[in-house]
């Protein structure tokens, strides 16, 4: 017998005691229980057992305006020692150039789909992300600039889904400095449940809450072990300065 059959057989024998008093029991019984209480415990369409779990926890911990939500994100990012900056479309190239210059970055990794003008003011040499770019190549890159898929205010978390402007996972891992641009308020949600709703499970996802850290040595927190030791987050608002629209380059 294969390992698969043995394990599944053991699981089924182990569960032989579970009677019908248990929610979901009807799902196992199949048609024999069709006349029971299908509304409560029955088999869901497609044959998946209903979980009967009371999800009476909160979707969101507090009501906020968009501005408050962005403010909370900034506070929580800073709590975990990310550096937070705010700008608008017109100011973005200058902000990014300054952040890269402050780190002395000479080479900066650029994911596919990053808007071309974002790095237009930076003197750093762009290193485009291609499948041929190896981790060892990236080890010789100083910084990386990306966007993100969604940001969570209540936890101070950025989620990258390898979509346009974010690049492959290793791009934001090997260089020691990550600059992440968040469109506010559109990309900011209040809570973790809301973020999961926005994400596509089949994409490779990286959730980032502050820079890499360890507390393994006598519990003293040290920033930066293997991931980027410096995390700059730029909150990019579209409407901050209506008088200065993105320059029509």
């Amino acid at each position: 017998m294969s390992g698969r059959e043995r394990i599944l057989g053991r699981v089924r024998r182990a569960l032989a005691d579970v009677g019908e008093e248990h929610p979901g029991a009807a799902a196992r019984g199949g048609a024999a229980h069709a006349g029971g209480e299908p509304g409560r415990d029955g088999t869901a369409p497609g044959g998946a057992p209903r979980d009967g779990v009371a999800r009476d926890y909160l979707r969101v911990h507090g009501e906020r305006t968009a501005a408050e939500r962005v403010g909370l994100l900034a506070t929580h990012l800073a709590d975990y020692r990310a550096h937070v900056h705010r700008t608008d479309a017109a100011g973005l190239p200058g902000t990014l150039a300054a952040l890269l210059a402050a780190r002395g970055a000479r080479r900066v990794a650029v994911p596919e789909g990053l808007p071309a003008d974002w790095l237009s003011a930076s003197a750093a040499t762009p290193v485009p992300d291609t499948p041929a770019l190896t981790a060892r190549d990236l080890d010789a890159v100083d910084s990386v600039v990306t966007g993100c898929a969604v940001a969570i205010a209540e936890t101070g978390t950025l989620v990258l889904d390898a979509g346009p402007g974010q690049g492959r996972r290793q791009l934001t891992l090997v260089p020691d400095h990550h600059v992440c641009v968040v469109h506010v308020p559109e990309q900011v949600v209040d809570s973790l449940p809301q973020a999961l709703e926005r994400l596509v499970p089949h994409r490779p996802l990286t959730w980032i809450s502050g820079p890499s850290a360890t507390s393994d040595i006598e519990l003293s927190r040290v920033e930066g072990v293997h991931g980027p030791r410096a995390l700059d987050v730029v909150l990019l608002s579209a409407d901050a300065s209506p008088t200065a629209p993105p320059s029509p380059r």
Binding site: G24, Y57, H226
Partner: protein
């Protein structure tokens, strides 16, 4: 039904029974001071992180209910995992026990032609002794979590789930790095001091070379989503991301109880785990992957589903709740016995209260160590109070004590059996000495009782919803569940021969 004997002497070379190891630890003042500092610090931070969420009680109940539901339909969800992972380009393997799992992983590594693997901290691979099995096959496994690196370089054993090297202070760590790093790869920088930041930098440099050249990685997973085939790894340092992203082949060894049904269920566990574990709103890095992705991350992905005694635990109506565990380590940090005894005394990958109920169920209560583990507790209930999935650890401890003392029906490697009482055998003696050890450290007991009585009001006394019928939970009695003295009298007092 087969009859097996419980009171077998421990096999040669087996770990010492709990009381012997615990006696050793309590004399080690460095260990005790480190542990005390660590557990008290995390405990206080955790309480603050949990207090931020007004709906903690509801999340906790939902977490327990989702896990119970999953276990109740585990066959269904395991098949769903297999289908989803396969559809996403991964390969699924099934390992009944440690030997099978080790053989599968060894074969998979051999097939790549590599002799080295990088590892991200995984309790399942510790449980099965994977590193040793790989070493026997001529394959070197490099631990990449900082604490695991310290443990591996120091030729030592982990002592805490979350901070496995908590028994080492900074000077010891510096000495280990200085003397041992060169034997495994890049040596420690000259003039290394015992500053934590410098030690972390030394680890970064030492391991960077390994990450950049590694072709094969081995990981565990915190969660596997059946609906989508997605695996989730929660970490802090980035070594997990390195292992999960850079190598060409990724092998994940995952206990079958790590499955959760739906993507949405993550909204419960990703709120419960970080706050309960590291006392953070969210841990620095969480990685999620589904099979393989073109040009991003490993081209080959293997999922090894591990039983190794889990279905035996599943067969016990009281004990099965231990399979809800999400390995947050909160129960260690509140346990007065753990604080005094240290993690090594528990003799397995799983220290503290969770180890005391999980290890004897996974391995059986046959050896002196495993029979003594259910006695490594004062039944103060603090572990239950903090557990984010509401595992009634005292209830399971009492159940396992009964099994040691009175024998009874159990499932051993998938077969129903009746075990005999341990009375008169080595296992009983070890168990009684463990009980005496706990008894003779009244300060530890009192500390635990005070803590429990302070926190009890914050938590539901009884699990609502489906968990009730499932676990046959009873109301948790007032603290302590049964006073230690009463229990001692009842089980130790003369009741005639068994």
């Amino acid at each position: 039904m087969t009859r097996i004997h419980l009171g077998m002497p421990a096999p040669p070379g087996a770990a010492p029974a709990f009381p012997d190891a615990a006696e050793h630890s309590t004399r080690d003042t460095t260990l005790r001071n480190n542990l005390r500092h660590a557990t008290h610090t995390i405990r206080a931070k955790r309480a603050a992180a949990v207090a931020e969420l007004a709906d903690w009680g509801e999340l906790r109940a939902a977490g327990a209910a989702i896990k119970d539901h999953t276990l109740r339909h585990l066959d269904h969800y395991l098949e769903q995992v297999e289908a989803a992972v396969t559809a996403a380009g991964g390969q699924v393997h099934w390992a009944v026990d440690a030997a099978e799992a080790n053989a599968i992983v060894t074969r998979l590594v051999r097939e790549t032609g590599e002799r080295e693997v990088v590892k991200v901290k995984s309790m399942a691979t510790q449980e099965i002794g994977l590193n040793e099995a790989l070493a026997a096959a001529g394959i070197t496994a490099y631990e990449t979590d900082l604490a695991e690196l310290i443990v591996q370089l120091g030729q030592d054993l982990p002592s805490h789930i979350l901070v496995p090297a908590i028994h080492r202070n900074r000077a010891e760590i510096r000495d280990i790095f200085r003397t041992q790093m060169s034997r495994w790869g890049r040596p420690a920088p000259a003039g290394l001091t015992d500053e934590p930041a410098e030690l972390a930098e030394a680890a970064r440099l030492h391991l960077r070379e390994k990450f950049l050249s590694a072709k094969v990685a081995v990981s565990g997973a915190n969660f596997v989503v059946a609906e989508t085939g997605t695996l989730v790894v929660v970490e802090s340092e980035g070594n997990g991301r390195m292992c999960l992203t850079l190598p060409e082949t990724l092998i994940s060894v995952v206990g079958i109880e790590k499955v959760i049904p739906s993507w949405r269920d993550l909204e419960v566990f990703l709120q419960l785990l970080p706050r309960s574990s590291t006392a953070e709103r969210m841990n620095p890095y969480t990685s999620m992957w589904t099979g393989v992705t073109d040009d991003d991350g490993p081209a080959a992905f293997h999922l090894v589903l591990l039983d190794n005694g889990r279905t035996d635990a599943l067969a016990d109506q009281v004990g099965r709740q231990a399979l809800r565990c999400i390995r947050c380590s909160a129960c260690l940090n509140v346990c007065p016995v753990y604080e005094r005894a240290g993690g090594h005394a528990y003799g397995s990958a799983y220290p503290g209260p969770i180890g005391a109920i999980l290890t004897p169920q996974l391995r059986g209560t046959v050896s002196a160590l495993d029979a003594s583990l259910p006695y490594a507790s004062s039944l103060c209930g603090a572990c239950y109070e903090v557990c984010p999935v509401a595992i009634d650890i005292p209830e399971v401890l009492v159940r396992l004590r009964e099994r040691v003392v009175e024998g009874g029906p159990v499932t051993v490697r998938g077969t129903r059996a009746v075990i005999r009482p341990a009375r008169g055998h080595a296992a009983e003696r070890a168990a009684m000495r463990a009980a005496r050890w706990a008894f003779e450290h009244p300060r530890a007991l009192r500390a635990g009782q005070r803590l429990a009585s302070r926190t009890r009001a914050l938590h539901p006394r009884r699990l609502p919803g489906p968990g009730r019928a499932w676990t046959r939970s009873r109301d948790l009695p007032e603290v302590p569940a049964e006073s230690f003295r009463d229990w001692w009298q009842r089980t130790r007092g003369d009741r005639g021969t068994a």
